[in-house]
């Protein structure tokens, strides 16, 4: 049984999002035919809410909700899956200059997986840092499909993954309710817990999936009248 998860999303717990989790789940329920995702992973910026309990919402909507984090490092942004108390003691998640190699190695040692996200994005992505610094070691996967990417960014991410032999994931990086689930990752295995997710991310048995609608050509434009100042 396969599982499709949106591995990258931000709820109102992140300072740049106003999307309540309940609205995300309701939206996915409404758009089930277009975005057949089984669950979402909340990757809040620079934090991990250990105590948040979403079981009631999971039961109400029949959608899996897992928790992770998006941290900021000297090689760009990194998703951390399988966050433990040991990790939050070892690293200050609020630090925007975390050492990426240590994050990758220590998270792995503590039983999790660290996945660089939107590597093709300027300033906050791996590609730009690889042009100036040695490549990171022990990277398992990178996010090659990101719902917030601009033209060319995902293409650069795919090139990086292919050149380095990284596995590839996808996520919406949604900060708005209506964008949840547009990009996701399909796993071969069933995933019900964060431990399942970490195990499968290490396995490599997955692929990014794109549910974004094909864009129609912009029709002939109509100028808007404005009064000249």
């Amino acid at each position: 049984m396969s599982t499709t998860l949106d591995l990258h999303s931000h709820s109102e717990a992140s300072e740049d999002s106003r999307a309540p989790l309940e609205a995300y789940l309701n939206w996915l329920k409404l758009r089930r035919a277009e975005r057949p995702v089984d669950g979402v992973v909340l990757t809040e910026h620079r934090q991990f809410n250990k105590d948040a309990d979403y079981r009631a919402l999971e039961d109400r909507f029949g959608i899996l909700v897992l928790k992770a984090s998006e941290v900021e490092t000297d090689y760009g942004h990194v998703l951390v899956f399988g966050v433990t108390d040991e990790m939050t003691r070892r690293f200050d998640f609020a630090n925007v200059h975390l050492p990426a190699q240590e994050v990758i190695d220590e998270v792995a040692r503590m039983g999790g997986v660290a996945v660089p996200c939107h590597p093709g994005r300027p300033n906050v992505g791996l590609c730009e840092h690889y042009a100036k610094k040695p490549p990171l070691e022990n990277v398992i996967a990178v996010e090659v499909l990101n719902g917030g990417s601009r033209k060319g960014e995902d293409e650069r991410s795919v090139e990086l993954a292919q050149a380095r032999g990284y596995h590839a994931i996808g996520g919406s990086d949604s900060h708005l309710v209506s964008l949840i689930g547009l990009c996701a990752t399909r796993f071969e295995a069933e995933i019900r817990t964060i431990d399942d997710l970490v195990r499968e991310l290490k396995s490599g048995e997955y692929a990014p999936v794109d549910f974004r609608p094909r864009r129609k050509p912009v029709p002939h434009a109509t100028p808007v009248e404005v009064r000249q100042a």
């Binding site: 309940e22 609205a23 917030g148 033209k151 434009a221």
Partner: protein, 142 residues
Amino acid sequence: MSNANNLTYETVQIGDALGPAEFHLSKDQVRAYAKTCGMWVPRFIDDEGARKEGLPGMITPGNMSLAILSKLVTDWAGSSGARVVRMGTTYRQPVMPDHTLTLQGFVTHKNESDRTAEMDIWIESEEGDRLVIGTATVHFPR
């Protein structure tokens, strides 16, 4: 889907669309806005001046983008009596004039306690990039 003629808190539904609405934003419109708002600075006036500031060309003031998005919401609300009580935007990429922009949004949730509807709104480029994204809260009177 609800429509502007009989729009009430009760008829608004989660998933209702705002737009899409396409229009061509001209350089003259941006200059007119910049002049009116006292923002007569190179980046909003001509390509050469903007490039001297390190920009790819003339750009649209952020508060003009906000105003354009607010029109999407107020057009949707029409004469229903509903009013915009909050808007918030994130500027992801410069909005360049002399291009066709697409405005779009969706009602994402409702709050019965204060009779408000929340909506996602954004400005999209011809390539489909979301240049400005945001949310708005609209209040419906009883």
